[in-house]
């Protein structure tokens, strides 16, 4: 004779619950393994060459098996190329978001744009590079240059910027717009001086994350900018090195000195990206966008 135990779930159900708990925790732990080992190996190996020479010298006249050399030329290139990409992508991205939120109003064009912004997020980076190669280098006949890389990076940045700006503009309370309209302020001034400033910090955060994302892109630069060992300060003329390409170039050499340089390049790149990420989070925390 057995009485039904009503004090709690049956043993089988409890075991299932515990198994699920363990599996879920294991999943999280599994994700930490690559994160920790990536950061650990990059820091450990990168510190070997994290010296003054690395940041003040280029690879000019330094062969793969020679020690020394640095990534000065690559850092210059990355900053210029990503900067130019931002100059192209941010206005277009923010204006598109303004159109979608303030003007589009769920119309046909707005829906099509929204859809293709989503699709654009999924364009493989190498395809963006091939497009610029086909258009800028082949059709228009320009040579390899940093600016070509910037254009391909800007294609990858645009959808991210649009998404971020759109989300932030939607958070701006309508009361603000209406108050401004009621005062007789034209629409464009309302947008420029009321809506955008309100959403400003949020947009900046999104933009910085987008910049951080394209900073590590290698594939499009590979087909549009090309590799060089010398310092080239002019992004509109000739091949220009960038940090991702520097790592790509050095990592494929068999010599340990080259691999060490690649690791330090990776450490530098990750530091840049982490700084941008941290700054973005700080800005986001300093002034949260007004919400209803």
């Amino acid at each position: 004779m057995s009485a039904i135990d009503l004090s709690g779930p049956s043993a089988a159900r409890k075991i299932k619950d515990k198994v699920a708990l363990v599996l879920v925790c294991v999943a999280f732990a599994l994700a930490l393994i690559p994160l920790v080992t990536v950061l650990w190996t990059v820091v450990k190996n990168g510190l070997k060459r994290f010296d003054v020479e690395f940041f003040t010298h280029s690879m000019n006249a330094i062969g793969g098996r020679d020690a020394g050399g640095g990534a000065y030329h690559a850092i210059i290139g990355t900053i210029e190329q990503v900067g130019l990409a931002s100059v192209i992508a941010i206005p277009i991205g923010v204006l598109t978001a303004v159109y979608l939120v303030e003007y589009g109003g769920g119309g046909r064009l707005a829906r099509v744009v929204t859809f293709f912004v989503d699709v654009m997020t999924g364009v493989p980076s190498i395809v963006a590079g091939l497009f610029i190669f086909a258009f800028w280098l082949k059709l228009l006949g320009f040579e390899y240059m940093g600016f070509a890389g910037s254009m391909s990076l800007s294609i990858l940045m645009m959808p991210t910027v649009v998404r971020a700006a759109e989300e932030m503009l939607k958070l701006v309370p309508n009361d603000l717009r209406e108050a401004s309209f009621a005062l007789g302020v034209p629409r464009w001034r309302t947008i420029c001086f009321v809506v955008l400033p309100t959403a400003f910090t949020g947009i900046i955060t999104g933009v910085m994350l987008a910049v951080a994302r394209v900073m590590g892109e290698t594939a499009p630069l590979l087909v549009t900018v090309f590799v060089t060992t010398a310092i080239n300060n002019d992004p509109f003329k000739g091949p220009q090195m960038s940090l991702p390409l520097f790592i790509w170039d050095q990592a494929q050499l068999p010599q340990q000195v080259a691999i060490d340089r690649a690791w330090t390049g990776a450490l530098t790149l990750i530091l840049f990206i982490m700084l941008l990420n941290l700054a973005a989070r700080l800005i986001a925390r300093l002034r949260k966008p007004v919400s209803r």
């Binding site: 409890k14 994700a31 999924g122 290698t218």
Partner: protein, 325 residues
């Protein structure tokens, strides 16, 4: 969805006549036009990508003496040019599917952990930690994969080959670390954050009453997840993993660094070699002649179409879900 309700709020308040309201001033018209123009520029870029890839791919496709779809060779600069995408397509699909099989359960586990198991105060921080995986650039994964992970995978490959070679996937004559399985695992790491962050967002949208109803029936935590959370989030999880698949298909540099360059189609995922669309472009573009570049653009076009289809399908799943909820 928060963004959705907000959007409805914005259009609701500004909808109808207010939308069209314009003072007709020059500044207004200029600003409105430039905003609209930016949207159109975006569309034009997407169209231009398709058009230019097609135009630049055509010369190579016409010169191709082998079957572009079924041939396994890649000699576009030889005369006569002979190349086909069979091997590239195979490697791309197999490595991405492997990545998806590995990443999806883990990513959903992570999302569940952060949404339901982790202490509330830690949840945001843990989410940020997983997002950090997405912040690491692919070139760094490539370097890590080549220098750190491949040597480790050499042992794993030997072990699997030694103990489980009766499974066809693990068979083959020679095994090594620079194989499709390694590429698949590296890709899985790279798509984890996308799948888990989208799934987490979906899980957080599960209606509170559903969860409470399950709890009221005396469900354990796992039963709540199985009865209330997973059915609600199914289409969201599907579209999340398809977005991850799209990312994996197009990933270039990490795969290019990790894979060895032996050619051929083989289901033995431990065999060194294999190639993908993107990795092939990255590895051979610098040395390619004019026809070779054109052929690589043709392969890039195929990749573009495949990722486009996968992404559109993912969006369609999301859109359908919106109608039902």
């Amino acid at each position: 969805m928060t963004s959705e309700t907000l959007e409805q709020g914005a259009t609701g308040a500004l909808g109808g006549k207010a939308r069209k309201m314009s003072t007709g001033r020059l500044g207004d018209r200029l600003f409105g036009l430039s905003a609209k123009g930016s949207g159109i520029v975006l569309l034009a870029i997407m169209a231009a990508i398709a058009v230019f890839l097609i135009v630049k791919a055509l010369p190579a496709l016409q010169s191709d003496k082998a079957n572009f779809i079924t041939s396994q060779e890649w000699n576009p600069d030889a005369s006569p040019a002979r190349f086909g995408i069979a091997q590239l397509a195979f490697g791309t699909v197999l490595s991405s599917v492997l990545a998806l099989i590995i990443a999806t359960p883990i990513a959903i586990g992570i999302a569940l952990f952060i949404a339901f198991y982790a202490p509330r105060r830690l949840a945001d921080g843990l989410g940020y930690v997983v997002d950090l995986l997405a912040a690491v650039p692919s070139i760094v994964y490539g370097l890590w994969g080549l220098q750190f992970f491949v040597p480790k995978m050499n042992h794993v490959a030997d072990f699997l080959h030694g103990h489980a070679s009766w499974i066809p996937l693990f068979g083959g004559d020679a095994v090594g670390g620079r194989c499709l399985l390694t590429a698949g695992i590296v890709l899985a790491i790279m798509i984890l954050p996308i799948i888990s962050s989208i799934s987490r967002e979906i899980f957080l949208q599960v209606p509170r009453p559903n969860v409470e109803a399950a709890l009221a029936l005396g469900a354990t935590r796992w039963e709540v997840i199985r009865m209330a959370v997973l059915p609600f989030g199914r289409s969201g999880m599907i579209s999340a993993s398809m977005l991850g698949l799209g990312r994996a298909l197009g990933e270039t540099i990490a795969v290019a660094l990790v894979l060895g360059s032996a050619a051929g189609i083989s289901l033995h995922i431990l065999k060194p070699g294999g190639n993908t669309f993107a990795a092939n472009i990255a590895n051979t573009f610098g040395m390619a002649g004019p026809n070779g570049q054109s052929a690589l653009i043709a392969s890039g076009l195929v990749l573009f179409v495949i990722t486009l289809l996968v992404n559109m399908a993912a969006r369609a799943v999301v859109a359908r879900r919106k109608e039902f909820v």
